[in-house]
Subunit: 145 residues, 2 copies
Amino acid sequence: MTDRLIWQRLEEGNYRLTQQRQAVLDVMKENRGRHLSAEEVLAEARKKAPNLGIATVYRTLDKLSSFEVLYKMVFDEGKYRYEICEDEHHRHHHVICLSCGQIIEIEEDLLSKLEKHLEGKGFEVVDHQLIIYANCPDCKKKVKK
Amino acid sequence: MTDRLIWQRLEEGNYRLTQQRQAVLDVMKENRGRHLSAEEVLAEARKKAPNLGIATVYRTLDKLSSFEVLYKMVFDEGKYRYEICEDEHHRHHHVICLSCGQIIEIEEDLLSKLEKHLEGKGFEVVDHQLIIYANCPDCKKKVKK
DNA sequence: CCCCTATTGATAATGATTATCATGTTTGAT
DNA sequence: ATCAAACATGATAATCATTATCAATAGGGG
């Protein structure tokens, strides 16, 4: 997602970029493709805004998600993670390695057929999330030993 | 999932079926295809075991999940839900209606191609979960008004 | 420069889940 | 059957992530 587009969305939402919010947004931009928890964002963002509080982090992450600047998602560990949006389609494809916990993004989009089918049945598809649980090539080797 | 198979898994795990555990398991069997939270299971199961405690419900749900008698899953609301396993493949396909919250199961399995691709790259695919966010036909009508 | 409103950080409150522990129950060896 | 040992339970405390509260503060428009 481009700075231009981010700016546009913040403006539409009448959202001022304070130092703290800037720090949070910077962290998210510096971690494109990663899926950060609120605590992780706090730890990083404090390097720029040392007395940033966790409440502000949550507030900012939720607001940015509501502007569709960030995705808010949840994996099986049961807590929220955030990631900067990369496209207009809100599609998330992830592979989670069951051994090392690494979360890898994949690009393929094979779901349009399924969604067309649902739309044919009267559904209005808004978004989807696909998570694949796997052992990544490295861990696969280790596990076999 | 058949009673036969459930029994087999409990036996393999040396898991005694006490009254309380039986009550929890019964609730799960009576609600095939539904995705119950621990609190919901507790409320139902207390009809059979009136002074059942929430801790026992959690313990039982987790154990049954570890035996692959139940699936343990998480949606965007951020809490765990459980469902009795219906097949050997551990595949969950859900459509969540964004208006009424209804969770509908779908049967299609269009992901084998994608998984083959990942396996070609050295991954070992263990499981997957696909969630589609949509408005169901009824809510779609209401939303449009 | 001052007032007004938005924002912040600290902290309390909440909700879901997990851990602890004293008590009660089952099991299996005798 | 008896009894010790292991297991299971319910109540409740502890924990973890998140949200709400609130007094203090910061910034922008006049």
